[in-house]
């Protein structure tokens, strides 16, 4: 077993008509990630429904609650592995709640596979999916031009779709875009190359997923360490141990480094980087560690350790892009709860600058937000937040909004 297997999280965006379920089924099947009992279960269902071949799309079939009510539950997670990488697929259905579901799944993804039907080309929904991927800043995009078998494996068709798509993606600031022609149904260029797309010089989809560089998907320059939990054993053996436990959200830290505690602004130096497996000389995102400091200063959950050479913002007012997730609309007269890193504060929406039409990218003025709306808002919080722009840092630039009355998560925010 090699020890250097990495984890890649990706999402697939597209509707059933684009062959999304078939593509996921094909990836799992051809990478030998489907087990016999799963295959025999879907083979039985395929026969019962009068199909000749096993319908791989049934692998992503849902729960009883979904079948009975003809609905699809937002996000399902699927797992598979190759000798090179482990993969987590965030699979979202492409129905009316799509914006909300895709934002949710995309929030943890390294990569988005955006599916297109080669016969239909770049559609409104393609633009919508791409906009959401750019909004949530999924680092890598794959445009999977599916159903190439239905257009005679035409290179000209593929080239035209890619050119149109790349132009659109560039407008949104997306540059890491790879276009792959494939047929999920036949199996061309998904796991195996197949015999029908010999003019295509690039990698099949799986090979691309195995090899794309994801080391720099996290911010490696700005040290950000939100304190999660203060560990004070107060035992004889560890009488003076006071460890600030947390996960490095970005950047790196070494024993002896000077750190600043925010929002207080006090400074100290790192005495030890402690872990269960012993002390470390240096640690990187996204390691979970404990830090002890040379000086005794008052630090609690919600504070953030940073380095003086790359300071984040500390403020009580900021602007953000917001995706409203709840069926109850935003009420700008109310206070909500905001959770940002390990800090929980009350918040107010002082202004809705504009609502964005995800299909046309046009901006409209509005006084409220409904489920699936994406808007540019101005916010105020009761205590200062320690943050970066989402563009610079996905961890310290994101937050969720909770309705205190229901405790539901009602919005996802990305600080501008």
């Amino acid at each position: 077993m090699s020890n250097a297997i990495q984890l890649l999280r990706f999402i697939t965006a597209g509707s059933v008509d684009d062959g999304k379920s078939t593509l996921i089924g094909r990836l799992l099947h051809d990478s030998k990630s489907i087990f016999e009992d799963q295959l025999s279960a879907i083979a039985k269902t395929s026969t019962r429904r009068g199909m000749e071949a096993v319908d791989l799309s049934l692998l992503t079939d849902g729960l009883q609650a979904e079948r009975e009510q003809g609905i699809t539950i937002d996000v399902a997670y699927r797992y598979f592995a190759t000798p090179k990488r482990k993969f987590i697929i965030g699979d979202t259905p492409g129905h009316e709640q799509y914006t909300r579901n895709m934002v949710t799944a995309a929030s943890t993804a390294n990569l988005a596979v955006i599916l297109i039907d080669a016969r239909r080309g770049v559609l409104t929904q393609t633009r919508r999916h791409t906009f959401i991927a750019s909004l949530v800043r999924v680092p890598h995009i794959v445009l999977a031009v599916n159903k190439m078998d239905m257009v005679g494996y035409s290179q000209a068709t593929f080239d035209a779709i890619c050119a149109e798509y790349r132009a659109f993606a560039a407008q949104l600031g997306l540059h890491d875009v790879t276009c792959i022609p494939l047929s999920a149904l036949v199996g061309d260029m998904v796991v195996d190359r197949g015999d029908n797309l010999n003019w295509y010089q690039g990698s099949p989809l799986l090979e691309h997923l195995e090899n794309i560089v994801i080391d720099y998907d996290v911010n490696t320059t700005d040290f950000r360490y939100p304190v999660q939990w203060v560990c004070r054993p107060q035992t004889q053996e560890h009488h003076d141990f006071r460890g600030y436990m947390g996960r490095i959200e970005s950047g790196e830290i070494r024993a002896g480094d000077a750190v600043t505690v925010l929002p207080s602004g006090r400074t100290s130096r790192v005495k030890e980087i402690a872990t269960y497996d012993g002390n470390l000389q240096q640690a990187y995102a996204p390691q979970s560690i404990a830090i002890t400091l040379v000086d005794e200063i008052d630090i609690s959950r919600g504070d953030m350790l940073v380095k003086a050479e790359s300071m984040p913002n500390v403020a009580k007012e900021f602007e953000a892009m917001l995706c409203w997730l709840s069926e109850s609309p935003l009420d700008t007269n109310r206070k909500y709860i905001l959770k940002h890193t390990t800090r929980v504060v009350k918040c107010l929406f002082s202004r809705i600058e504009s609502r964005m039409d995800v299909n046309t990218l046009a901006r409209h003025s509005t006084t409220t937000l409904n489920m699936n709306d994406i808007a540019h808002v101005a916010m105020k919080v009761q205590q200062p937040l320690v943050f970066d722009s989402y563009a610079r840092n996905r961890s310290t630039g994101s937050f969720i909004v909770i309705d205190e009355a229901t405790n539901n998560t009602v919005a996802a925010g990305m600080i501008i």
Binding site: L7, Q64, S107, M245, R247, S288, I400, N407, T409
Partner: protein
């Protein structure tokens, strides 16, 4: 990044530690469900990594069906004792005595009734969060469940009405009487668990390794002979080399034929197996397409 290589196990471990610390920090009265099985033993190691050198700020809790393999119970008790952590055990027998569980035959599988005793235990101690070792790769109902899974006063999971879960920013809030189930190893697979057991050199019950065992064949399954399962007149008892992929209720947990005596050999077998973990071993999950989904809606973890 220097020479540091952050592997998939490092990523999963760090994610799980982060989740456990969020629970400890934000929930008032959490518990860690611990059965002595391999997944919960991994959970225990992750909790050590999350909170040592301090003691856990929550107890370990086991809901005992009294249908468990004695080796697993022995391992449960030893681990809790070695770590010096508090273990609370509540038994289905107590619920049966109270009358809150009524069963026709004490020897039949008891998994469906675990939810009752679990909910009674949650009420007894007022737990607002229970961490469990369930994984999304186990079953399709689990695949759609959140890491922080909100339950109402009846412990019910409503798959259609789950809280959106974005980034690693978890909503842990509940009202009095409600609770959340938290699954820190949601994103681990069976293979990850075995690789981690190997990497961390974790002690697990012997029955996970190949051993000779008296079994009978019923349908497609191999069932261990025990004081709860005796051969029927026409059934033949065989002695096979087997190991367990999961350890649950003795009456419905089937071993697989195997000669794997070490973690490395189990990893090699897991890499080539063509049957899912639950498909091979849990007869109660095969009774209907939606068994797990229905149990979860009733408060199962």
């Amino acid at each position: 990044m220097g020479s540091h290589v952050f592997t998939h196990l490092d990523a999963l471990e760090s994610e799980s530690i982060h989740i456990m610390r969020e629970v400890a920090a934000e929930c008032k009265n959490p518990a860690l469900l611990f059965s002595g099985g391999k997944d919960s033993i991994v959970m225990l190691r992750l909790a050590e990594k999350a909170f040592r050198p301090a003691k856990f700020s929550f107890p370990l809790v086991h809901i005992d069906t009294e249908h468990n393999f004695p080796e697993v119970i022995a391992c449960r008790d030893k681990l809790a004792k070695d770590l010096g952590e508090r273990l609370i055990v509540r038994s289905l027998e107590d619920s049966i005595k109270r009358g809150s569980i009524v069963i026709k035959d004490p020897d039949l599988p008891r998994n469906p009734f675990q939810s009752v005793t679990l909910l009674e235990t949650i009420a007894e101690f007022g737990f607002d969060a229970c961490m469990g070792g369930a994984r999304r790769d186990e079953e399709k109902a689990r695949a759609k469940e959140r890491i922080f899974s909100f339950r109402d006063e009846f412990g019910q999971w409503d798959p259609k009405n789950q809280r959106p879960e974005l980034w690693d920013t978890y909503n842990t809030r509940v009202h009095n009487g409600e609770n959340i189930r938290v699954f820190p190893i949601s994103n681990w697979t069976e293979m990850d668990i075995w690789e981690y057991i190997g990497r961390e050199k974790l002690h697990i019950p012997e029955i996970y390794y190949a051993h000779k065992r008296a079994v009978i064949r019923r349908g497609n399954s191999v069932i261990p002979v025990s004081h709860l399962v005796q051969p029927k007149p026409a059934e033949k008892v065989e002695t096979l080399s087997v190991r367990f992929r999961t350890v649950g209720d003795m009456t419905c947990t089937a071993p697989v034929e195997s000669t794997a005596h070490t973690v490395e050999e189990i990893i090699a077998e897991t890499a080539t197996t063509r049957i899912t973990e639950r498909g091979a071993t849990r007869m109660d999950d095969q009774t209907s397409e939606a068994s797990m989904e229905l149990r979860k809606k009733e408060g199962y973890f």
